[in-house]
Amino acid sequence: MDTPAIACEGLGKRFGGKTALDHLDLSVPPGTVHGLLGPNGAGKTTVVRVLATLLHPDSGQARVAGFDVARQSAQVRARIGLAGQNAAVDEILSGRQNLVMFGRLCHLPAGAARRRAGELLSQFGLSEAEDKPVRQYSGGMRRRLDLAASFIVAPCVLFLDEPTAGLDPRGRNEVWQMIRALAVGGTTVLLTTQYLEEADRLADAITVIAAGRVIAEGTPDALKTLAGGDRIDITVREASDLAAAARLLRTRLGADVRVNREDRELSIPVTDRLAALTRIIGALHEQDITAEDITVRRPTLDDAFLHLTGFPDSTVPATEAATP
């Protein structure tokens, strides 16, 4: 088997009295996109900072592209790209000046750095704005430049720390396309995100972390299965009925009913969809609770996430639940 592109063993890191990483293990096979998923403060950024040689762990060890991040940091830096929260581009310089500068700092000869900057600008759709200062760029353009900068010398491993945070849907789509293109080129990508949809769409495998520990690992589909089988979502008409309906269905179905107060919605994991549906409708009718809408659906990664991180009675969608 190939050496993993990323291998962490027992990583530990404390900031003051706060534990950021707690014996974290992670292994990513080369050429895959790996999602690192977790709420804010889970330690995602700390993992990326350690792997990108920006931060020394207190304990444990990590290897990237076969090199130890602490003892062979120069070798690691020659093989990685970093984009997102941790690495910025120069706001005052133009896009082209930025890429030429980063190319020179990767020790490309001047001519090669200029050529490479030109290639990347057109590849990332920035040719028209190449001579404008970056502070005039839109959020999406800036992220694309950031990605381009991390890709000047084709990295073996690319770290993307919340690459689409704060982007509008269009900007997010642009960045997703870029990440897919990079993955096709054989680069190993470690992607941190709070957006489950993002991990679902891009990642071959996902590690869910919380409070600096790994709480689940697997393919997006395997994680969805962890959340249980199909689900039935019920929207009640009167918000005052919500608690009674939840109690009722908990007793009748013996299932873990999730309550979303904001949308007056109950979500119930079920095994036999039709039997459950019949019983739910019967029970609600019997108690005079009016349902506005009932849907039967496959579990999403959101369900898995809520299940794993144990947010009870979540009243907000998971993508926001991740932000305290």
Partner: protein
């Protein structure tokens, strides 16, 4: 798509030094390119400000000033202004270093296969160049106001050398504070605000002998004062009658003070830079 790979990391000391020098130059050019991109800020800081202050002190207030021990006030003022400009360098370095660290540009550099000291060394080179330019502009203002060195080109160059040595020492204060407080922008503002009083608490504008004794003592031991006095002596300008020990040894102190500051803040800056990974 073409695949570009990083050239192999050199193993020999000589080629490593070559990489470090080339990285330093790239960073210095980047810092200089900032000034090219923002000519307004540069003109305001290095051109308009010195001219304004020479006019204010030399002409508006200068008429009411007398230099103890005799001599022309504008002759007394110019070397003081040179030294004062070096003080403003602290804030300039501090702002640039803390902005890079806060925005994540420093982290981007640190994740690249470049020579680590080049990030600071490039900043130092660019800031020294900027201060030389500021000195040149100010010297031009001085000539226009009728000031000129009286004791020959060699001594004038020595005076400029002492001023730049002070700037080099202040540079490390700026780097240290920038790396230490980049998450607290209010510190940057505070430092830029106290630069003026710190300058006034020395001898750039008035002779120390005109101050109350206790205040004069503080002003005398301001590193700025030794450099200003030494520069005045080398330019052949009045130093404002003063027979204190430190004034009589101004030339030595103008070297000793900066070296002391460098000895303290250079290691602190490096330590802080390394601490970024803790």
């Amino acid at each position: 798509m073409t695949i570009t790979r990083t050239p192999e990391i050199p193993r020999g000391t000589r080629s490593r030094i070559g990489w470090a020098i080339s990285d330093t130059l790239v960073i210095a050019c980047r810092d200089l390119a900032h000034w090219r991109q923002q000519p307004g800020a540069v003109i305001a800081n290095t051109l308009v400000f010195p001219v304004m202050i020479v006019l204010t002190f030399g002409y508006l207030l200068g008429g009411a000033m007398t230099v103890p021990g005799g001599g022309d006030y504008r002759d007394f003022l110019m070397p003081g202004m040179f030294a004062m400009t070096m003080v403003f360098g602290i804030g300039a370095t501090l702002s640039a270093v803390s902005a890079d660290a806060a925005r994540g540009v420093t982290d981007r550099f640190r994740s690249l296969p470049m020579a680590a000291p080049a990030v600071i060394a490039g900043r130092a080179a660019a800031d020294m160049l900027n201060s030389m330019a500021a000195l040149a502009v100010l010297t031009g203002c001085g000539f226009a106001a009728g000031w000129h060195p009286h004791r020959g080109a060699a001594r004038a160059m020595a005076a400029l050398g002492l001023l730049l040595l002070l700037r080099f020492a202040f540079l490390w204060i700026g780097v240290y504070l920038g790396l230490r407080f980049y998450q607290q922008p209010e510190v940057v503002t505070a430092v830029r605000t106290v630069e003026f009083p710190v300058g006034f608490l020395g001898n750039p504008f008035v002779a120390v002998s005109t101050m109350p004794a206790w205040l004069g003592a503080i002003a005398l031991w301001n590193p700025l004062s030794s450099t200003a006095t030494a520069a005045r002596q080398l330019f052949g300008d009045p130093i404002g009658a003063d027979s204190s020990w430190i004034t009589s040894h101004a030339a030595i102190m103008a070297v000793a003070w900066p070296l002391l500051l460098i000895a303290v803040f250079f290691p602190l800056s490096l330590h802080r830079y390394q601490r970024l990974s803790r």
